[in-house]
């Protein structure tokens, strides 16, 4: 039994049940398939994260974001005072995460690529773009760059999905995608 020492002291010499050999082989091959699928997706898939990231101070990141907002603000969102920024396709786009907002609101064009830079000015936050469902972790002092290509128009919410204190559930941002 499993609670007593093996009766056969040379248990490592016992032959295996055929069923066991077959299952171990299948399970091992399945592991190889799953491992290869990740690599395969890097080659042919369209959803892969870049490895591009930089160290940055919160001040420097805020400055770059404000520069972009100054140049490309097209309007304000309702009476919230939050600028809606429409940077040119293909450009570098900056998004600040801080307690408890995503700043600014972005307006992007469908089927155009943007280099999105993400960083936090204080604690960790979670960039959760809904309903398309893209979830990325945002750290302070790190600037992450991903190239994003919206393939549908509409209004998308950015939920914070990393707990960041008592206002966490109020932290909401927005991305507009237009034709």
């Amino acid at each position: 039994m499993a609670i007593t020492p093996p009766e056969n002291k040379l248990w490592w010499k016992e032959p295996l049940h055929r069923m066991e050999i077959i299952w171990i082989t299948i399970a091992f091959l399945w592991g190889l398939v799953m491992f290869s699928t990740m690599i395969y997706w890097h080659i042919t898939g369209e959803q892969n994260l870049s490895n591009e990231a930089y160290r940055i101070t919160p001040d420097a990141f805020a400055e770059k974001t404000e520069e972009m907002a100054e140049a490309y603000t097209v309007r304000e969102e309702g009476d919230t005072g939050i600028p809606v920024v429409r940077p040119p396709p293909g450009s570098d786009v900056y998004l600040i995460a801080r307690l408890w907002e995503w700043w600014p609101i972005l307006e992007l064009e469908k089927d155009q690529s943007y280099r999105l830079h993400l960083s936090s000015l204080d604690w960790q936050h979670g960039f959760s773009l809904q309903p398309t469902n893209i979830n990325l972790q945002v750290h302070p002092n790190y600037e992450m760059v991903v190239t994003l290509t919206p393939n549908e128009t509409g209004e998308f919410g950015i939920v914070c999905n990393e707990f960041c204190g008592i206002g966490h559930h109020q932290m909401l941002g927005k991305i507009y995608v237009v034709e």
Binding site: M1, A2, E46, L49, N51, D122, N135, V159, N161, G165
Partner: protein
């Protein structure tokens, strides 16, 4: 381990023991007491932490929305610490002492240190719990910097970890004594081997914890200026995820133990089962990568290699156990004459015995819900869909609650008569408890995964964003999912309460188990005839083959469905 018929003293050691009437094993008095106190501490934390869990589920149910935001985040932090850490690790210490001292017929090494470890664990767990309840440490179980908790929150966790490390040392010491005093012949039993696996991973886990928690404590009192956030996450999960691998090793050992005690089941192959445990030791530690898949500054090569435990070799370990455990049960049942059809052995299994039903439900839920979702969640690119959504707690409630907790509940129904020497009270409640708890937890896991698939965030007080300056509408189905999660969470709470009632009631008021009770109501069924059945026999196991085939098909389908989901997301590079 019933009434004391043989109280004796070993030559050279003045250690009291009794011989268990059920199993014939020697039960040393000091070991027995230590197992009892650790198990009791565990159950108390389960009661408190489980209650917190129900409050969390009721708050996330939008129709109920029970707690205010500050209290919700506080209770959620307390829930994680109380059950994920304290309940499970206290119980695991009890398992370590059982698997070493009792299974090897050996006195416990340095019981004084075992007590010191216990006191440190009690002190540490209380200190951390108090810190959370004071309200200044609602930082969640993960306590990601630069969010800061009160210093005594970190200090409590450190003390708890030191206590657990002492328990591991006592365990290893006992193995050495058993070997030297030749209290057993040949190799250690498989259950002990599983416990060794758990203890080795525990040492790695605690070392990672020390490397990250000590600097974090120093940072919280102002001696260190800054802690790098990515490094913190990497090392913290060296502790956080590895501690879940302790649980896997421990509850797989518990599965083998229950199958052996209740059915006299023998592992199909000692070699295969032990190799599977060995794979855990070698590869499980890489799992901290599961939490780093969408972080800045980490290369894809690192992610792919580590998140897959190098070619999925630790997953291979679990897949092996997933066949050899039902296989061992089927073999034992067939040997006892339940040979009708493919599943006659399963139909004739003792489903009214909570130790068996809890074990069987734990195996199924852990494999189908926890195992498959874990591999999918840990796939590098698919993680983009799921990171920090409710899918994550959905997954780990299937592993840690439906898997580990249910397995520990199941073996409690053997621990009470064998170690506490009490007959169970409220037998009908005991009989239904595993089913109620399994349905409740299975439901919450499923519905949290469902909500997560819809993109609903974990650790979030208000999916309507009523206090936010912007607006966002989540899909209506998400409300349904969270409502169902609340209902099934309540059911799991009822199942937990039934467990506490039976266990605490039996310890306090159960009839003392004497020789007559052992004869009338044997715990250890099976006996020698079954136990001598070996693996390399010609016995066919069509039931296990069918179960494994169903499992594998579900796994493959669900895996590729998620790639399909991913392919529909905005292109990213």
């Amino acid at each position: 381990m019933s009434v004391s018929t043989a109280e004796g003293a070993l030559v050279g050691h003045d250690e009291k023991y009794r011989t268990c009437l059920d199993t014939g094993l020697k039960v040393y008095a000091k070991t027995e007491t230590l197992i009892k106190v650790n198990a009791v501490a565990a159950v108390l934390f389960l009661a408190v932490g489980g209650l917190f869990g129900v409050l969390v589920a009721l708050t996330r149910w939008p129709g109920v929305h029970l707690l205010p935001a500050d209290l919700f985040y506080l209770v959620l932090t307390a829930h994680g610490a109380a059950v994920l850490l304290f309940w499970i690790i206290f119980f695991e210490v009890a398992i370590l002492y059982f698997a070493s001292s009792i299974l090897l017929n050996c006195r416990l090494a340095t019981p004084h240190f075992a007590w010191l470890g216990f006191l440190l664990m009690v002190g540490g767990s209380l200190l951390a719990t108090v810190a959370v309840l004071q309200g200044e440490s609602s930082v969640m179980f993960t306590s990601y910097v630069p969010m800061q908790a009160a210093p005594h929150f970190y200090l409590g966790l450190i003390l708890f970890a030191v206590g657990a490390l002492l328990a591991c040392c006592v365990f290893f010491g006992t193995l050495v004594i058993a070997k030297e005093e030749q209290t057993y012949e040949g190799s250690v039993p498989l259950v002990t081997f599983g416990a060794i696996t758990a203890a080795i991973i525990a040492v790695f886990t605690i070392a990672s914890g020390a490397i990250i928690l000590i600097p974090t404590f120093l940072w919280s009192i102002g001696y260190i200026a800054e802690i790098d956030t990515v490094t913190y996450k990497l090392v913290w999960w060296g502790m956080g995820h590895s501690s879940q691998q302790i649980n896997v090793s421990a509850h797989v050992a518990v599965w083998y133990c229950i199958a052996a005690l209740v059915l006299g089941a023998k592992p199909l192959s000692e070699k295969v089962s032990r190799t599977a445990f060995l794979l855990y030791i070698l590869f499980l530690q890489l799992a901290c990568a599961h939490h780093m898949l969408v972080e800045p500054g980490i290369s894809s090569e690192w992610k792919v290699f580590n998140t897959s435990y190098a070619l999925y070799l630790a997953v291979l370990g679990s897949l092996i156990h997933g066949m050899s455990i039902p296989g061992a049960v089927e073999a034992a049942q067939r040997r006892r004459g339940f040979t009708k059809g493919i599943f006659g052995w399963l139909r004739q299994a003792p489903w009214g015995n909570p130790a068996f039903s809890g074990f069987a439900l734990s195996v199924v839920l852990f494999g189908f819900l926890g195992g498959i979702s874990g591999v999918v969640l840990g796939t590098e690119q698919i993680n983009i869909l799921m990171h920090n959504t409710l899918y994550v707690p959905g997954h780990f409630h299937a592993t840690v609650v439906a898997g580990t907790t249910l397995a520990f509940m199941a073996i409690s129904y053997l621990v009470v008569p064998l170690i506490f020497q009490r007959d169970l009270v409220f037998k009908t409640i005991a009989k239904w408890q595993p089913y109620v708890f399994a349905i409740g937890v299975g439901g919450t896991s499923l519905f949290m995964m469902g909500a997560g698939t819809l993109g609903i965030s974990r650790r979030h007080w208000d999916i309507t964003f009523s206090d936010a300056s912007l607006t966002f509408d989540v899909p209506g189905t998400a409300f349904l999912m969270l409502g169902l999660n609340g209902i099934f969470g309540l059911l799991a709470g009822v199942g937990g309460l039934m467990y506490i009632l039976v266990i605490v009631g039996s310890i306090l008021f159960g009839k003392r188990r004497d020789a007559e009770a052992v004869k009338a109501n044997p715990i250890v069924a099976g006996g020698e005839a079954v136990s001598t059945y070996g693996s390399e026999g010609t016995l066919k196991l069509p039931g296990t083959i069918t179960l494994v085939a169903v499992f594998f098909t579900a796994f493959v389908l669900y895996y590729f469905i998620n790639w399909k989901f991913l392919s529909e997301v905005w292109p990213l590079s």
